[in-house]
C-alpha cells in the first residue's frame, strides 16, 4: 500500500503538486489527468528525481523519500518513461539483466529471472538481439520486462502505450493487468488512453493542476462529472 500525504512540489512559482493526498491499494491503479496535471512529476518524486517541498510517501511501511534515488530500485521500485528508454546498444537480455544486476536481487537466479521477465512481457525475439534493431512496440515490451524483473514492489508505468497501434496496446493491457498477480507489485499506470486504463486498473486517481480531484473504482471515477469537466477544460466558477 502506498500512502501519499500532503505532497507538494514547486518549480519556482509553479505548483506542480498541491497537497496531494492519496492511497494506492495493491493491484493496478490508474493515474489520469490532463496534460500538465502533475502525473509525471508525481512519478519523478517517487523515483527521487524531484525533491518535494513538503509531504511524505509511505510505501509498504517504508519512508520512500528517505531512500537515495538509485537505491530505490534495490528497494523494489521500477519505472518506465514517457519517451521509451530501453538501451539501444545493449541486447534485450542485457537490458533486463542490468536492472537485476544493479537492483541487487540476491538469492535469485539472474538468467532465469531475466528470461522469465522477457517472456512475461510477451517479447518474442532473440534475447541476444540489440534493442536498437527492434521496433517501437517491441522496445516498449523490453521496458516492461525491465520493470517486472526481479522482485518489484512498486511498478510505475508512464504512458507505456504512447505511439502504439491499437492491437499492440491491447496486448500491452493484457500484460500490465497481469503484473500484480505475477509479481505481487503494486502497479501505477499513467496514460491518456482511457480504454487502456479501464482495461487494466481496478482503481483510478485523477489529478488536475496538481490537485487530486477524484479517486476510487475506475468505472465510477470515469463517470465523475468533475473528471469529465477537467478533461474537457471547462471549470465552473463558484
Amino acid at each position: 500500500m502506498i500512502e501519499v500525504k500532503d505532497l507538494t512540489v514547486r518549480f519556482g512559482g509553479v505548483t506542480s503538486l498541491d497537497s496531494m493526498n492519496v492511497t494506492f491499494e495493491p493491484g493496478t491503479c490508474g493515474l489520469i489527468g490532463p496534460n500538465g496535471a502533475g502525473k509525471t512529476t508525481f512519478f519523478n518524486v517517487l523515483s527521487g528525481f524531484v525533491r518535494p517541498a513538503s509531504g511524505s510517501v509511505r510505501a509498504f511501511g517504508d519512508d520512500l523519500l528517505s531512500v537515495v534515488h538509485f537505491r530505490r530500485a534495490r528497494w523494489g521500485l521500477r519505472r518506465t518513461f514517457q519517451t521509451e528508454q530501453a538501451i539501444e546498444d545493449l541486447s534485450v537480455y542485457d537490458n533486463v539483466a542490468i536492472v537485476h544486476e544493479h537492483a541487487r536481487q540476491r538469492g535469485t537466479a539472474r538468467r532465469r529471472d531475466v528470461l522469465d521477465a522477457i517472456s512475461f512481457a510477451g517479447l518474442d525475439v532473440d534475447p541476444h538481439a540489440k534493442v536498437g534493431t527492434l521496433g517501437a512496440g517491441q522496445r516498449r515490451l523490453v521496458e516492461l520486462a525491465r520493470a517486472v524483473v526481479g522482485r518489484p514492489k512498486l511498478v510505475l508505468l508512464d504512458e507505456p502505450a504512447a505511439g502504439l497501434p491499437d492491437e499492440e496496446t491491447r496486448n500491452l493491457a493484457d500484460v500490465i493487468g497481469r503484473i500484480p498477480s505475477r509479481t505481487g507489485a503494486l502497479t501505477i499506470l499513467v496514460d491518456h488512453d482511457m480504454s487502456l486504463v479501464s482495461a487494466c486498473c481496478q482503481t483510478t486517481a485523477v489529478l488536475d493542476f496538481g490537485r487530486l480531484i477524484a479517486s476510487g473504482p475506475t468505472a465510477e471515477v470515469l463517470r465523475d462529472e468533475q473528471v469529465t469537466r477537467a478533461y474537457l477544460g471547462t471549470a465552473d466558477v463558484t
Binding site: F70, F81, I98, E101, R178, S181
Partner: protein, 362 residues
C-alpha cells in the same frame, strides 16, 4: 505465481547465453596474431626510425583508449587528457630519479597519482556534461601547462621538483633493465599497452561497461535501473586517468628527456578530434587514432611532406566523422570494404553463373 507465462518460459530456457561464437574466436585469433607480429617480427623488420614512431603509437593508443572510454562509453568529453598524460610522465620521471624502484612499480604509482588527479577533475563531471565539462577540463589543462612551464620536468636535480637548471650533463630518464634498447623498449610499450587494452576490455564486457552504456543513453533511466551514476562516472574518470598516467610513464622512458613544451594544452583538442575520427565506440578506433597521430606524421616526414597538412586532414576527418560516420573510421572502413566487396561480387557474379549454366547446357 505460476501462470501461463511461466509455463511458456520452459521453452525459452534453451537459449544459451554468451556463447563464444565463431566470430569471437576469429577475433581473438586476429588480436593474438597481430600482437605476436608486433612483439616479435616488427622490431626486426622496421628501421630504428619507425621502431621509434611505433613506440609512440603504443603510447598514444593508451591515450586514445582512455579518452575513447570517456567519450564513447560514458559520453563525457574531456579536453584535459594531455595534462593528465604530462602528470603521469612527471611522476614517473621524479620517481625514477629519486628511487631505484622497478619500472613496472613506478608505472603503477604514476597511474595511481593520475587516477587521484583525474578523479578530482571528474568531480565537476557529476554535474556537468557536454560542452561545459569540455570547457572545464580544457581550463584545468591550460592552468596545468602554466604550472608545468614554471616547475619544469624533473631532470635529476634535488628537492620535490627534482629540477636542476644549471646542470650541463642532464641524465636521461632510465628504462627498465629488460628493455634498454629501442626495439626492446618498443616491445615493452606494446606489452603495457596490450595490458591496458585488456583492462578496458574487462571493464566494458562486464558490469561497469553495461552501466556506462546505460548512463550514456539516459541518466534518469540509469538511476531508475538502480545504477549509482555518481560512482560509475567517477570510476570511468579514474580508469581513463590511470591508463593515461601509465602512458605518460611509458612516454618518459621512450624519450629519455621531458620538456614542458612537449605537452601543449591544445594537443588535447587534436587528440579528441583524432580519437573521434578513429572511432570512439570500438577499441580498434583507439589504434587507428594512434596510427593517425604518430605513424602518419612519421611517414609524411619520411616522404618529405610537411606535417602541417595533418591539421587540415584531421579537420576534414572530424567533419566527415561528425556528418557521415559517427562511429569513426574503425566502423566505416570495414563496412565500406564489405560494400565494395559485394559490389565487385555482384558485377562479376551473374556472368560467372551464366557461364556455368552455358557449360551445363553444352
Amino acid at each position: 505465481m505460476l501462470d501461463t507465462a511461466d509455463a511458456r518460459t520452459g521453452g525459452r530456457r534453451q537459449f544459451r547465453l554468451r556463447r563464444p561464437g565463431p566470430g569471437t574466436l576469429v577475433r581473438a585469433a586476429v588480436v593474438t596474431g597481430l600482437l605476436l607480429i608486433l612483439l616479435f617480427a616488427a622490431p626486426a623488420l622496421l628501421s630504428a626510425y619507425y621502431v621509434d614512431s611505433m613506440t609512440q603509437v603504443a603510447v598514444y593508443a593508451m591515450l586514445a583508449i582512455g579518452l575513447g572510454l570517456l567519450v564513447g562509453r560514458v559520453g563525457l568529453v574531456s579536453l584535459g587528457q594531455i595534462a593528465v598524460f604530462a602528470i603521469g610522465a612527471w611522476v614517473t620521471a621524479r620517481l625514477l630519479f629519486a628511487t631505484s624502484q622497478p619500472y613496472p612499480l613506478v608505472l603503477l604509482e604514476a597511474g595511481a597519482s593520475t587516477m587521484a588527479v583525474g578523479t578530482l577533475v571528474g568531480l565537476p563531471a557529476l554535474r556537468l556534461r557536454g560542452l561545459y565539462l569540455a570547457l572545464i577540463t580544457l581550463m584545468l589543462a591550460g592552468a596545468f601547462s602554466i604550472v608545468l612551464a614554471t616547475t619544469n620536468f624533473p631532470n635529476g636535480g634535488h628537492g620535490f621538483l627534482g629540477y636542476n637548471g644549471s646542470s650541463v650533463h642532464i641524465p636521461p630518464i632510465r628504462r627498465p633493465s629488460i628493455a634498454t634498447t629501442d626495439p626492446a623498449y618498443f616491445r615493452y610499450a606494446v606489452a603495457v599497452a596490450a595490458l591496458m587494452f585488456a583492462l578496458v576490455y574487462a571493464h566494458i564486457r562486464t558490469r561497469p561497461g553495461r552501466a556506462w552504456i546505460a548512463i550514456r543513453q539516459s541518466e534518469p533511466a540509469a538511476i531508475a535501473a538502480g545504477i549509482n551514476t555518481t560512482m560509475y562516472k567517477l570510476w570511468a574518470f579514474a580508469l581513463a586517468s590511470f591508463i593515461t598516467g601509465v602512458a605518460g610513464g611509458i612516454y618518459a622512458g621512450a624519450v629519455h628527456f621531458l620538456y614542458s613544451i612537449d605537452f601543449p594544452a591544445q594537443d588535447s583538442i587534436i587528440l579528441l578530434a583524432v580519437v573521434l575520427m578513429g572511432g570512439v565506440y570500438s577499441m580498434w578506433g583507439a589504434i587507428v587514432a594512434a596510427l593517425l597521430l604518430q605513424l602518419l606524421p612519421a611517414l609524411l616526414n619520411d616522404w618529405g611532406v610537411s606535417a602541417d597538412w595533418l591539421t587540415i586532414l584531421f579537420g576534414v576527418g572530424v567533419l566527415q566523422v561528425l556528418t557521415t560516420a559517427p562511429a569513426g573510421l574503425a566502423d566505416q572502413v570495414p563496412k565500406d570494404l564489405a560494400r565494395l566487396g559485394r559490389l565487385i561480387l555482384r558485377s562479376t557474379g551473374p556472368r560467372h553463373r551464366q557461364g556455368v549454366s552455358e557449360h551445363d547446357r553444352g
